[in-house]
């Protein structure tokens, strides 16, 4: 199991990295093709994604709808801005809870790494104030101790 890293850059960004034992093409496809996205981008146990729209071209629509099967759900909308198969995706997204969160600007890159891929996701935080604080290094490190099983987030 690969280690997930989560770090901050400046006040505004969160960087997530994760290695995958598959070539960039496969990881890129798993991030852009609806039938693949629906199999993994599910969050906590018990949730599914009954609706997944991913129109992977500049200006294309993103819409993910999650459900816990008990009448609770929320959704995300977004747009693709730039796509460079199979190494870079730039998109913007927002959660609807149901009020929309501020736009989260995300750049995801997929670099060959050994026989696999290093994914790097750079997010301009949805709520700059709140999240930059939450993830700010001091707190993050202080709390790290209690997250024994967290080797594997974002």
């Amino acid at each position: 199991m690969s280690t997930l890293t989560l770090t901050t850059e400046g006040d505004k960004y969160v960087i997530v990295t994760r290695h995958f034992a598959a070539p960039p093409e496969a990881v890129y496809r798993a991030h852009t093709e609806p039938e693949l996205i629906q199999r993994w981008m599910l969050g906590p146990e018990g949730w599914t994604m009954p609706v997944c729209i991913s129109d992977a071209r500049p200006g294309g629509t993103i819409r993910y709808e999650w459900s816990n099967g008990k009448g609770v759900g929320f959704y995300l909308t977004g747009e693709y801005l730039e796509l460079a198969p199979y190494n870079r995706i730039v998109h913007v997204e927002r959660m609807h809870l149901p009020d929309p969160t501020p736009d989260n600007h995300v750049e995801t890159t997929f670099e060959p790494d050994g026989i696999g891929t290093l994914m790097r996701m750079k997010m301009a935080l949805p709520n700059q104030q709140a999240r930059s604080a939450m993830l700010s290094t001091g707190m993050e490190e202080g709390m790290e101790a209690s997250y024994v099983r967290l080797e594997t987030l974002l």
């Binding site: 997930l4 989560l6 598959a22 496969a26 969050g43 709520n127 930059s132 709390m143 987030l153």
Partner: protein, 116 residues
């Protein structure tokens, strides 16, 4: 968890984070907190008020001195929230590992199928 918005916006300020970092080492008076920041007591007090409202610290008076310490409930709420977020994301990527492995093996099957 209702208070989380206030909590996170209280954390947005670097001085307030530094105050929390100091308090993580133990209780301190307002004067002790003001010292390293080169700040007046009133401005430190303003920050402390924000932290208190957000449920991150507790203040108590002892004679003329005011002592501050971390409020475990507030810290635990953030801890729990961050932990849930991390776990959800970690779980996603673990599932993605499985999807990628499936893609790989079904790709192999296809190739083999083509050869035979």
């Amino acid at each position: 968890m209702q208070n989380l918005d206030a909590t996170f916006s209280a954390l947005a300020d670097p001085t307030r984070r530094a105050i929390l970092a100091r308090l993580a080492r133990g209780e301190a008076t307002v004067m002790e907190l003001a010292q390293p920041f080169d700040m007046t007591q009133p401005s430190v007090s303003r920050h402390l008020k924000v932290l208190e409202r957000a449920g991150l610290i507790v203040r108590r008076a002892e004679g003329t001195k005011r002592h501050c310490r971390l409020a475990s409930d507030g810290i635990n709420a953030i801890d729990q929230w961050l932990s849930q977020l991390r776990q959800a994301v970690a779980k996603n990527y673990d599932r993605l590992d499985t999807v990628l492995a499936d893609m790989h093996s079904s790709g192999k099957k296809k190739k083999r199928g083509q050869k035979s």
